[in-house]
């Protein structure tokens, strides 16, 4: 079946360093979403990418959707302690309401 993998599983960075998480799907996705879950919280929607090769920015966060629409990345420039949490990508299972979530990347920022 369709699988969505994320790497790395964990990442510790010093405050001010950059961070990137990668999402890879076994099948082509019509779109991809990214969510952030703070420690003790629930996933919160960040962004959706639809077009092949699309790049979107939210302040220090840059999201990319691969040309083949099978992979995506989230890059954070100059991390801050407020960036701590787990970042998930999610892709739709074609033709259904089902969402396939990635395994998540847990980010820890050391002050």
């Amino acid at each position: 079946g369709q699988q969505v993998m994320q790497i790395p599983q964990y990442q510790h960075v010093q405050e001010g360093e950059d961070f990137t998480t990668y999402c890879n799907s076994s099948t082509t996705l019509s779109n991809i979403q990214w969510y952030k879950q703070r420690p003790g919280g629930h996933p919160v929607f960040l962004i959706q990418l639809v077009k092949s090769g699309e790049v979107k920015k939210q302040k220090r966060l840059t999201f990319q959707f691969g040309e083949a629409k099978k992979n995506s990345s989230l890059h954070i420039t100059a991390t801050q302690t407020t960036d701590v949490g787990t970042y998930f990508c999610a892709g739709p299972n074609s033709g259904t309401y089902k969402y396939i979530f990635g395994t998540g990347t847990r980010l820890k920022v050391l002050a």
């Binding site: 079946g1 994320q6 599983q9 019509s30 779109n31 979403q33 969510y35 919280g41 629930h42 996933p43 919160v44 929607f45 959706q48 639809v50 998930f88 999610a90 739709p92 259904t96 309401y97 089902k98 969402y99 396939i100 979530f101 990635g102 395994t103 998540g104």
Partner: protein, 117 residues
Amino acid sequence: DVKVTQSSRYLVKRTGEKVFLECVQDMDHENMFWYRQDPGLGLRLIYFSYDVKMKEKGDIPEGYSVSREKKERFSLILESASTNQTSMYLCASSLDKFGTGMTDTQYFGPGTRLTVL
């Protein structure tokens, strides 16, 4: 703002008990979902519902059932709780954009951390 609420933040039950987890959303969303979240495994879909009284199995439905009698409420039922069902359970809802090629944003509840002893 969309609000998704879950009946309990923490729940402790004994093996063999019947457990009900309730989820309510206030934005008239058609779709509702139940996930469980375990370390290293991400979010795994248990069941989802795209309309009242309609349900479909997700990836890990074994040991669970669901009920959706009203549009705003989606219940997850553990018929006979087992220790391997100890987990964080997350409910989510979304608008229906099926057929448009677009998947709409999911709004999550705060989660219920269930411990089965």
